[in-house]
Point group: C2
């Protein structure tokens, strides 16, 4: 089988990662089409040795496209994803536009891949922090039901796209030149700082990012009763999100049990040897597919509690890789790594 693939938002950070992931995974691309907003249309982007013209998404014809990987923001997704689906493409959408739509499956293939088959042309790719969290949480939840999650995130600037990466780099350069930091993307400097604020404020003074962790986790795990709270924090890290997670199970779970369950979980790598000072850091996760989990230990405050730390590349598993894995899952090919219970990659 060979597919006609459209990458929508091809000039953005996630769009560029789509192209890398398609190449690295030898995704069977029969024909590649690149699309973006009118602003980027007409540019040329090279992929596997060939130049590709970026089409204007608003006027692009999706007929003949098998898979459209969207990462063009919520606004364009709302109007263009249904059009692409109507023209016959399977849309895997990386924006938040469709994630809570009951007719649109919200998928992490290793967690709830089977739910993808109910799609009607659009499948939503979850929020990056949620994907990374659930890659670590789902293998535990599969063994012992979880009652509650208390999550604190340490999120990379790439979550704000190229603008976030540029903001940190510019502020580092400004400091080196003895100039005060200028702010464009974030309301306060991010260099040498931590901002307990990701995206926007919403109901109950939680941020939209915090609500995504709460609501998307419930939906993906199919646990509407799951108790989740989160504080989402941006830190000066390039592209891997990390999370400190407190889990309350229905019964006591030992660190050894959790380590064993995670050790065989596809897409997860346990890095947890305190005696050798081995624990995961976001630098280690950059550019890699696996979500790294460590610091697994009994919670001294709760008999059914466990604490751990996880980190994953938010552009890869948190976005582009997960979307490509969804397509592989739906079309029934690709590495077995992303199927629950499958072999390790």
């Amino acid at each position: 089988m060979s597919l006609s693939v459209a990458v929508v938002g091809a000039t953005g950070v996630v769009g560029q990662e789509f192209l890398r992931v398609l190449e690295q995974r030898r995704f069977p691309v029969k024909r590649l089409r690149l699309m973006a907003s009118a602003r980027s249309a007409g540019r040329r982007v090279s992929w596997m040795g060939a130049e590709h013209l970026v089409e204007d998404l608003a006027t692009a014809d999706f007929r003949g496209v098998d898979v459209a990987l969207f990462s063009a923001g919520s606004g364009p997704s709302k109007t263009e994803a249904p059009r692409a689906a109507k023209q016959g493409a399977l849309v895997v959408d990386n924006s938040s536009a469709w994630r809570m739509d009951p007719d649109v499956p919200l998928i992490v293939p290793q967690v709830n891949g089977a739910a993808a088959k109910t799609h009607r042309g659009i499948i939503a790719n979850p929020n990056c922090s949620t994907i990374i969290l659930l890659m670590a949480v789902a293998p535990l939840e599969r063994q012992v039901p979880i009652r509650r999650l208390v999550v604190s995130t340490y999120q990379a600037v790439s979550g704000s796209g190229q603008a976030g990466l540029d903001e940190l780099d510019r502020q580092i350069a400004e400091e080196a030149e003895g100039r005060p930091p200028t702010t464009k993307t974030y309301p306060y400097p991010i260099h040498r700082n931590a901002l307990p604020f990701v995206q926007a404020f919403a109901e109950g003074d939680l941020t939209t990012e915090e609500w995504k962790l709460v609501k998307e986790s419930r939906r993906i795990l199919d646990r509407p009763d799951l108790r989740v709270t989160a504080t989402c924090v941006r830190i000066p890290v390039r592209r891997a999100h990390s999370e400190a997670v407190n889990v309350e199970f229905e019964r006591p779970v030992s660190a050894a049990e959790a380590r064993a369950w995670l050790a065989v979980a596809p897409g997860v790598r346990v890095v947890d040897e305190p005696g050798r000072l081995l624990f995961p850091t976001p630098r280690d996760a950059e550019g890699h597919d696996d979500v790294l989990v460590g610091r697994i230990r009994k919670d001294p405050s709760h008999e059914c509690g466990l604490d751990f730390w996880c980190t994953g590349d938010q552009i890869r598993k948190g976005a582009a890789l997960n979307a490509v894995e969804i397509a592989e899952h739906v079309f029934g090919f690709g590495p077995s790594a992303h199927r629950p219970g499958g072999a390790r990659s």
Copy 2:
């Protein structure tokens, strides 16, 4: 009243901050003596326009010293603090050497200042993360008892002294020069990274820093039953520690109630206006005395839960300032700000 003051560990980051705090608070210093390890003895340090010779701690005579502010590490504190106390000084010790000794009060003046009066010559200054946490937690606990705390820290490199500050600066410079980061103080690069590891690993694979938050919080709040768990993480921030805190109370507490209680707490400043994008960041706390608290909100996962974020300068309130406030408290002078229920500074 005017006192003879010894600053022990005078050439270190906290030692230098002791000198700044003594000057800024117009601490009534009759005579100042500076002490440090043999390696730094003989150096001259200026304070308020005069040069002071650094004495060798090992041979220094504490007779005539009223207050000895120690920040010379655990080893020297274990041997020299009792000697200084025996010679008549009130030792306020910033190391971890005496913090869990039942004969040594462990004091945050705004939280448990009254407990200082049982001292026998030594008073312990708590761990920096613990002080910052309890400045925010104690005003809440005073109103409604707390059952459990789940804490994630975002700790500054100054927690490792000058070596930590140098490590981050050096790695930033190395990156600018296109060189790979060298590591001396931390096992992995701290620039553009987050290390879920502070100090050393201990029992149950918690770090010593995590155990300090658990055990010192119980002791200072006089709540041996208090449930506390923590994940302590070093991030590339200069000198203010931040903490994402989940509190479970014995009864529901609204964000408005918590905000009101914190608004009148001495040494605390509420920075919490989501509508104006106002929340505390560690850059805001640098060099300031108050612990900043914000992002106060109901926890959507627990009817008695509340989430918040706090940040405080770990060299000031987390170390030097708190120690000086202890001395002020014991000798009954100084700003009323550090007395529970006192006026705002």
